[in-house]
Symmetry: none
Subunit: 196 residues, 4 copies
DNA sequence: AATGAATGAGACTTCATTCAT
DNA sequence: GATGAATGAAGTCTCATTCAT
């Protein structure tokens, strides 16, 4: 066999890492971080435990890299939501939240799981804190542009509201009709003639 | 010497159980359920592991009894908040939420931790689901009496908002000024001349 | 209250000890020595753990006293079986074995359980060994009187046979018809015109 | 370096499992199932506790696999004992029993130990019951061919006898001369001019 | 005589991690 | 790059035993 080229190796690495992170996402979202074992993740990913440790130096390192990756993906999504009209941006954001609740509820579940590891893993603390502040600031700007009074508090409220909907959807799944809420929010926050 | 009376024993047991549950609350709120070991709880409570198992048949049973106890306490608090004027009731509830965030943030932390054990422990699922629905209905009634339009969705929003504030306070603790938010909410929801 | 007399105390002690030993017999026969806890025995006997330790210095001590008591009872039974005619004595012994299998199979079960503790408890080893030899010798004498050739080996065979029937009855309980075997043995060993 | 081949791994696993089962056999035969700890078995086998759990999912599973293996070995031995002449088959069986008592008394001890776990472990109940009935039937056939009257009861007697000799050998080890008994039994059951 | 709260050693089991191949 | 056998620390839980009352 001829040795693999550098590029081939890189690609193989990328693929394996992604497989592992996807498997970990699924399992951790379902069962929680502690209840998910490395052995299980490796099995679900279809690789050996040894290989997993080639890519991730520890279980925590895997978690860190997963969070980074998830954040980066979230940023990509965010960028696409920004429109010229701040009201439209807001609507896009709200509709995206509900889309994710519908289509990737497990992903939301994972983020919640992680949020509450905040006191155990410093990297989560820093990252989550930064992002929360960033998003709140971002919404505040939108509100400011729209001309809503007290945009700072309104922004914190909307951010909290989104989180809370995530929590309640997770808890009440099945009894919690999201669709009405989506229209309600869009009407409330994004229509010209409405005032919060 | 004669053995202890039944009443004496009951008191001793009560005390020990409470010591254990308090210790468990502190630790689980701080580090999470899985990361808190029985040995640690016993040490923090100042009792032996064996005694813990005299009162709680398993780690999960301890959690269950803690939840039951917390729920019962929460019910007691709730009852005291109800006033003749629905606006006043709402204000009491909101102020109580913030008081707890201030004074018993660890307790909030614990409830959050538990909420996300929902897929692991059936007893949490049932209990949490029932309570969520009860509180949402309760708020809906208040809104209805006050005459707010679309009280159903407004209630779900307020409930989510409260949860979300809990989450964000937990995450942003220290950077998150609660006091402004409290007045903001009271003004928004409980003053006669305000409309959501 | 007037203090109890010495005699009353002795009687109370006797009674309590017997209750405990009976409870222990039932449970150990059912579940085995290791699987039966002191707490269970005390509960079944209707006394406290503390009292149990007043009478028996340890779990092993309880077992020892139970064995002693069982042996003593067995001796009493044996005495009543001896008849003038050695053939009749043999028949009595065989019929007694089957009566016990029928009516006190749990007792047989307990003895089996104990027999196999022989390598862990020295007192069992010594006692069991002595008794086995005594009974074998006793049967040998009977065979000798009856005039059966090679009574030594025949006695060892009959003794083994009785043990084996106990084992098989325990194992095959429900599929193992004892009654035919009883007549078969009586015919074989105790009738004048029969020869082993 | 390339990973081990599947065949290499299989062999490594086989070896480790065998080491563990052998160690467990020795210890359980000596001290009993409950009194033998997993830690001890691992130490005796020269492996870690963890490895033991790679191969056996629990202490009971280890016992089950040991029983299965022992049964399978016993079957192999049985097959070799069958001869054309039923008397010869009987003699082979009896001589094999005594050979095992001499050379593998620990193995007999283990089987006894297991037999009395019958009420604790369902798999033992089924397996033991089936085998007992099979062997009794097998002996009955031999007796029938030889022309012994009442072969059914005689078979049950011989089977019980074998068990009983096992028990007594275990109990009286050292004081129990087996050799005479062997010749005695062979003479009694397998010689043409003898009648039971 | 009698109770049962309390202890702590030790049992079984899980799992992140290492390393020879 | 890839495997999985092997380890051992740590976790949950049980239970014989002690002792203040």
């Amino acid at each position: 066999m001829s040795p693999r080229t550098e590029a081939q190796n890189r690609e193989i690495r990328q693929e394996s890492m992604q497989k592992i992170m996807d498997a970990a996402s699924r399992l951790i979202a379902q069962k929680g971080y502690e209840a998910t074992s490395i052995a299980e993740i490796a099995r679900e990913a279809g690789v050996s435990k040894g290989l997993l440790y080639n890519y991730f130096s520890s279980k925590q390192d895997l978690l860190e890299k997963m969070v980074l990756s998830a954040m980066s993906q979230a940023d990509d999504v965010m960028e696409r939501l920004v429109a010229d009209d701040p009201r439209q941006t807001l609507e896009n954001m709200i509709r995206e939240l509900f889309r994710q609740l519908h289509e990737r509820s497990e992903h939301i579940r994972l983020m919640m799981e992680l949020t509450f590891k905040i006191d155990r893993f410093d990297f989560v603390r820093k990252m989550a804190s930064d992002r929360y502040q960033f998003y709140i600031k971002f919404i505040e700007d939108l509100f400011h542009k729209i001309g809503i009074p007290d945009p700072a508090n309104e922004a914190r409220m909307l951010a909290a509201l989104c989180d809370g909907i995530g929590v309640q959807y997770t808890v009440l799944k099945g009894v919690y009709s999201i669709d009405q809420l989506e229209e309600f929010l869009v009407n409330k926050y994004c229509k010209k003639d409405q005032q919060t």
